[in-house]
Every structure is written in C-alpha cells, then in structure tokens.
Amino acid sequence: MGPRALTILPTLRELEVAVLALGALAVGLAIVVYLLMETRHRRQIRRDARRLILRSKLFPPLAADALRDVWKRSGGGDKELIEEVLVGMCASAADELKATIERSVVGSGIFDRWISDVRNGGPSTRVRAATRLGYVHDLRGVFELARATGDGSLEVRMAAVLGLGRLQDPRGLLALVTIASKPSSEIPDFTLAAALAGCAQKSPGGLANLLRARETRARVIGTWALSEVADRTVLRYLLAAARDPEPEVRAKVARALARIDHPQSIEALHRMAGDPIWFVRVRALDALGKLQARSEEETALASLGDKVREVRYRAATALRQVGGTRGDLVAKALAARSRLSFDSLISEWDREGFLWLLVAGLSTRDFPSFLQSRETLKLLIGAGVVRALTHLILVYPDVKLRLRLLRLFLEVSSPSTQEELIALADGPRCDRRVAAAIKRILTGPDARRSAGVNPSPA
C-alpha cells in the first residue's frame, strides 16, 4: 500500500466560502490601496494649494512684526508651510531681497524657534530645523549648526553640514574640519569636501590642518576642498602634500595647484607629471594645461608617449592649452615620438575641431596663417590623417576651401587615397563642383597623360 494522496478535509461548501473570502479580500485590499492613494493625493493637492496661498501672502517680504502676526495666527500645518516658503524664498532670492527676508525671519522669532527646535526637538524636528537654519544667514545659526554637527542623529549631522556649506561662513569651518578629521563620520567625503570648500572660500588656510592629518581620509577631503578654493596662502602646505604617500591626495593636490600660478606649483606639477600612478599624472598634466605653463611644453610632449591612454590624451589637451594647436607641435610629435603619440595628439585635438580650424586657415585672408595651415595639412595628409579630411571635402561649408583642400590631397596623397576620392566624387553627397574637380584631375586627360595613357580623340 503506497502513501495516501493529499486530501483536504473541508466540505465543498466550506471551500466555496474560502475561495470567495480570498477573492473578496483581494478586492477589499485593492479598494483600501486605492483609498490610501487617494488620501495621499488629496493631501498633496491641499498642501500645494495652501503653499501657493501662503506664498502670495508672504511675497513681497513682510516686515518682522507682520510676519510674526501671520505666524502666530497660523495653525501647525500652516506654520510648517510658512517656513518652507520662507526657506524657498531665501534659496532663490537675489542678495538684497534675501537679506530683507533674513532680517524679517530673525526679527519675527521664527529663527529663535528653529534654534530651540534644533536643540530640543525630536529627531525629525531637529533635521527640519537644522535644514532651515542653513538657509538663513545669522551668526547664532552658524554656531548652532556647528554644534549640531556633533548630533547623535546622522540626518541632523548631514543637514548641519549641508547648511554650513551653504552659508559659507568661515566660522563654521572648525566644526567641519573636526568632522573631517574623524576616521569615519558617515557623512560622504564628497559632501564634506564641498561644505569645507564653501566655508573656506575666503580663508583656505583654515584647511591646512587637514593636510597634515594622520588620517588619509582627512587629507583626501582637505585637498579635495582645496582643489576648489586654494590660493597662494596654502601653497607651501600643498607643496608638502604633493609628496604624500597616498596617490589620491597627490592627485587632488595637483588639482588644487592648478589654481595657483606660481613657479613652485609648476615645478611640483612637473614632478607629478612623472608620478608612477597614472591618475596623478593625468591630474598634473591637466593642471599644467590650465596654468598654460609654456615652459612645460616639453613635459606634455613627452607625456604623449605615455603607456596609459588617459595620460596621452590629457597631455594632448595640455599642449593645446599651453601653446595652441600649432602645426610645429604636430610635426614634432610626428618626427620625434611614436605613432601612438601622434595619433593621440590628433585624436584629442580634432575633438576640439583642430582639422576644421586648419581648413578654415586655408582662406587667403591671413597669408601667414594660410601658409601654416597648408603645410600642416600637407604633413597630416602625408601621415595618413585622411579620414576626417576627406569628409571635410564633402561637408565643409565653404566650397572654395573644399577645393583648396582637395588640391592639397592631390599633391600629397597616395594612390589608395586617390581611389577613395574618386569614390567620394561618385557619392550622392558630394558637391557637383567638387566632384567635377576630382574627376577632372584624377580621371581626365591630364591624369591619363601623366599616367602614360593617350587620351581618346573624343
């Protein structure tokens, strides 16, 4: 005897009831879900409408007494909306108007309420108060936010950090430096760096301590912030940090040095362009380009031969920023370096329109420029840079310059390129004058004569 198959005890009637109950439960649940959605939707609409009404009441900004009156007569929900409207106005208003709103918020007592909330409120109240304090500039608010950076709740700390960064008051710097110096504060490094940069805008020297910190994280954050605000006052700290064992720090130092046009920073960047870590080299070349350090042209040219693509491309960009897209640099890259260097140079420069500008230089209005463009183009065609140039024969707006470019092609190019040009002339997109010129020169009697073929009598 085998095992018994699964049997269920309920009767058919009970089963009917069970299935019906499940169905009804499902439909009931759907109705509940709908009602919940509708409630939320209605609440949102009511809130939006109320916010619009309050905004029209509060703008143009009320005097402190009037604002206090409106505030006192409002219910709890409206008070929250009034705060939102005031904060929104502060965030978007121009400086003068913002100062008026700030005065009235501080004078009306609303600001005091926020300070009290951020000290004594529950977690969500503290977050709300800290966020709002970060929009209205007042010294008491800065100190309160600085205190709140040590709050037990991560959300409050986050709001305080963002608020201090937004207020850009140097007096908030110390609190932010303290957080950044901790091994882990749960605040993203990126946010902390941006807030530090905000507060240190006028006095970047306040960040110097971070550069000397033992914690790598602190040094990374410090240099990151300095990459936004560094000036000569922090040069010596940056020069010391340029030898930091942590590559991330060195890369950020390079970014910061890009802001300081000084022989010492160029010297440090020159050294960093030979750093063993590729992204430090990238940053250093980037900085040299931004500083337009003419003395570093050779450094950038040498970096064109780097084994890492990003470094080669950044070197090409730096060369362009340093000395402009000059033909002699192209010739140098072609003559002295590997083909890879030359390709990287042309590749990066052409993204910025190098070849386009060269063709534009074929206009005879400026003769020296014409000669330089002509020679560079001949060099490039000879070196096989034909893909983009043949396309320019098709699409360059000035037909006269297209024909000049074509003439250069015929002077320099190889038989395979000439075949490509004939195919181009047969294509539907080729201008009829350009097509006629190609055919006349490459397949006409002159061409055949030069190839040793007798022209037909016709």
Binding site: P3, A5, L29, M158, L162, F190, H391
Partner: protein, 475 residues
C-alpha cells in the same frame, strides 16, 4: 506495486509544487517587506541628499564625470529624441557616446542631420575587443556628443566599444529608445557618492513611456496607455523594481541592472572583461560576473538600486513583440545561469550564491516547469482520483491571492512614494489589472517562458529586435 509507485510519484510532484509555492511566496514576502521599509526610508532621506546642487554650488564641480553610452541599431525613429533628452539631463559633467552598431536604416543620417555631425580623426582605443570601428563623429553644435560608427556586433559589442571610448570613471549604459528624466543621473550618482569605495553599479527604475507625451526630450505628461499588454507590463515592472529589486539591493543580492539604465564603474567593468557578446541578456550576465569576481577576489563590491533614477522606455504594445522580448529575456537567463552555475548554493558567493542565484534557478528558470506540472499534473491527479478537487482549488486560490497582494502592494509603494502616473485614472487601471492579471496573462507568459526554455535546451537562440513606433510628441 504500480499503484504505490504512482502514488509516490504524484506525492513527489505535489511536494515539489508545495516547496516551490512556499519558498517563492516566502521570498517575495520578505522582499516586499524589505522593499517597503527601505523605500520609505529612502524617500525620507532623499530630502537631505548629499548632492543637493541647489544647496551647494561647489558640488557641481566636484562630482565625477559620467559617459552615457547609447547603443543604437536601426533607431532612426527615436534616436534624435533620445539624444535630446540626454542633453537635457541636469548633470554638469556628462559626455554622450552614441554607438551606431551597423544600422541598416538612417540612424546615422538622422544623427548627422539633427546634430550637425562631422567626421573626426579620433581613434577610440581600449582593452575590450569589439567589431571594427568605421568612423568617429563629433557634433559641431553640441560638444558633449560623440558618435561612434562601427560594424554590427550586437548590443554588448556596442557597449564595449563605448567603454573603450569612455574616459570617465563611470558610464551609464542605456537604450537608444529611452528617455531619461533630467534628475535621474544625479540620483544614480548619489548612490555611488554615498559609498564610493564599494558601489560599482547602480540600477535605475524603468517605466513605460507608452501613452505619455514626450516633448523636447522630456516626458511632459506621463499617462498609461489603455492597452492590455502595456498595463500588464507596467504592473510587472512596478512589482519587479519596487517590490523586488529594492529588497535585493538591501541584502546585496541584486543581479539585475537594467540595460535601459545602469550606472556602472568603468574600472570594475573592464576588470571583469566588459559585456559578454555570448549572451542575449548582457546586462544580467555582467552583474552576475561582477558579483562573482568580487567574491572570488574578496572585494566588497555592491550593486544598488535607486528608485528615483527614472528612465522611460517604450514597452512592447502587442503580444507578438512582447513574446519576442520575453523569450529573449528568458533565454538570456538560461545562458547566464549556465555560465555561472558554479555560483549556486556555494556559501563562498554569499547572498548571491545562496539566495539570488538559487532563486533564479528554482523560481525564474525552473518556475515554468513547476507551474506547468502544476497545471497539467494536478488536474490529471484529480481525474485519476489521487487528489482532492478541494486541494487543487485551494492551492490555486492561494497562489492567485498572494500574487494579487504582491502586485497591489507594489502599486501602493509606487503611487504613494514615487508617483509618476496620472491619478486617479492610471492608479485605477493598475489596481484593476493587478486583480485580473492572473487569469490569462500569467498563463500566456508561462507559455513564452516554456518556449524560451525549449529554445535554449534544444533550439537556436537569436536576437529578436523589437519594433519601435516612436514617441508621442506634441503636435
């Protein structure tokens, strides 16, 4: 003797179905609870997000640059609109690389016409092997846009070509027929910046654009198209993203970063070898490979989900196109499972090895067979007098009931925390269809998955392109 064996067999099948039913619904319930709690927390936290550009101006300059890689194969109808939407993204440091993967229509001409492209002498190079690059174009009017024209090699190959070109630390893999919300990339990058050391991939949420008005590259008036297939898919998407992936993300078991919107760390992607051209669902396979590589090399990598990083995409609006898409997905699932079967039930692979992959094997790949055996064998057992009719009906009733509950909860999370659709019309449509999707649509979907399993096990797998109708725009 025969009767005993028959009884054992039927009891075994019943046990298998019961096991499947309990584990599937148990897992879904846990994921739903995790998702609901996390989505609430996320929504609350979002108000204080660490890259609030309005709050801190300097953030704009400190954020990492991102390259948007857009593979395009015969997308002439939507490509210009898509690129315009990408150019409207509110992210200060983006580069857009459209990869024309050997299109046979006028995709390249459409791009050239819309963005004044010119051929450039740029030679993308990189470590990932791809089909030959034919040409490289830059836009005369939009410096952020580049177009790489290459020989056809499939979406994975096109993405690899884009990665080779990419110079930024992160890239966004996406579909050419997608419209990305302006803030979507910011939200996705936020997930990385909160934990830059560990997060290597961020999955966005995909929504159906059918029925909505797209204007100037933006979805201006989101609305649900009154089409059975579209509404059913919308429910599926909402359930999959907001009641599934949000939960998987919590336990670092997320295996799916949709190809329509996935932000990925370039270095990690290159390290694992880029996208595989040997599977038809390269997005799924890449993420599984990322997890595998991380566990094998003891790296603490995380793949996370950002529910407010929204990407709108055109959903198939006919059964024929939908079945093609779903079969492709299921075949890709089989390929991925086969390629990474060594990860299953191996504690070394953590949550992925012990939960995510087994879930894919048992419930996703094996599910159709279990469901089929349920649909065939249970009635058979009933007719043979071996199964109570009541048991069968009760089983089906509970199965449908749980399915409805999950759908309703997902719709609730969607409509209350991340509302995008029109209220009340779209909400009502979703609720009504959530009640009826189990009667017909599920069974049809089951048949597609079975056909795909058959194709994988005995037939030939090929890419099945979807037919695009283009976006609805204002007249």
């Amino acid at each position: 003797m025969m009767t005993a064996w028959r009884d054992y067999f039927v009891l075994g099948i019943q046990g298998l179905i019961f096991f499947y039913f309990i584990t599937l619904n148990g897992l879904y319930l846990v994921l739903l609870l995790l998702s609901a709690a996390w989505c609430r927390r996320y929504k609350k936290k979002a108000a204080l997000h660490p890259i609030d550009f309005d709050a801190l101006e300097s953030l704009k300059r400190l954020i990492p640059p991102v390259t948007l890689i857009v593979p395009a194969y015969n997308e002439e109808r939507v490509i210009a609109q898509s690129v315009r939407s990408l150019l409207g993204i509110e992210y200060p440091r983006i580069q857009i690389a459209v990869i024309n993967d050997g299109s046979t229509d006028n995709t390249l001409e459409e791009l050239t016409r819309s963005f004044s492209l010119r051929k450039a002498e740029v030679r993308p190079s990189g470590e990932l092997p791809t089909q030959p690059i034919r040409d490289f174009y830059v836009s005369v009017v939009e410096p952020r846009l580049v177009v790489i024209d290459k020989q056809n090699g499939g979406k994975a190959d096109a993405l690899n070509a884009g990665i080779n070109f990419c110079e930024s630390p992160y890239f966004l893999a996406m579909d050419a027929d997608s419209v990305v919300e302006p803030e979507a990339l910011t939200y996705a990058v936020r997930a990385i910046l909160e934990d830059p050391e560990r997060v290597v991939a961020v999955a966005g949420i995909v929504r159906g654009v059918n029925g909505s008005i797209v204007d100037g590259g933006r979805v201006r008036s989101p609305s649900l198209q009154l089409n059975l297939w579209v509404v059913m898919q919308t429910i599926e998407y909402v359930r999959s993203f907001l009641a599934g992936r949000a939960g998987w993300s919590q336990i670092n078991g997320l295996l799916m970063v949709s190809g329509a919107f996935g932000l990925i760390q370039k270095a990690a992607c290159v390290k694992v070898g880029g996208y595989s051209t040997k599977t038809v669902t390269e997005d799924l396979e890449l993420v599984v490979r990322l997890h595998r590589y991380a566990r094998e090399h003891k790296l603490d990598w995380r793949v996370v989900f950002a529910p407010d990083a929204v990407c709108w995409t055109e959903m198939p609006s006919s059964a024929a196109v939908l079945s093609r898409q779903r079969k492709r997905w299921h075949e890709g699932l089989w390929q991925t499972i086969a390629a990474h079967r060594a990860m299953c039930f191996r504690p070394r692979y953590g949550v992925v090895g012990m939960l995510s992959m087994p879930h894919q094997v048992i419930h996703e790949a094996g599910g159709p067979f279990v469901e089929l055996s349920g649909l065939v064998l249970l009635p058979l057992a009933y007719f043979l007098g071996m199964l109570s009719f009541k048991a069968f009906v009760l089983y089906m009733a509970f199965a449908f009931f749980f399915s409805i509950v999950f759908s309703l909860m997902a719709v609730l999370i969607d409509q209350t925390l991340f509302p995008r659709h029109r209220f009340p019309r779209d909400a009502l449509l979703l609720l009504v269809f959530a009640l009826i999707e189990n009667f017909g649509y599920r069974q049809l979907y089951l048949s597609w998955r079975l056909a795909a399993s058959w194709n994988y096990l005995f037939g030939k797998i090929s890419w099945r392109a979807s037919t695009r109708t283009g976006f609805a725009t204002r007249a």
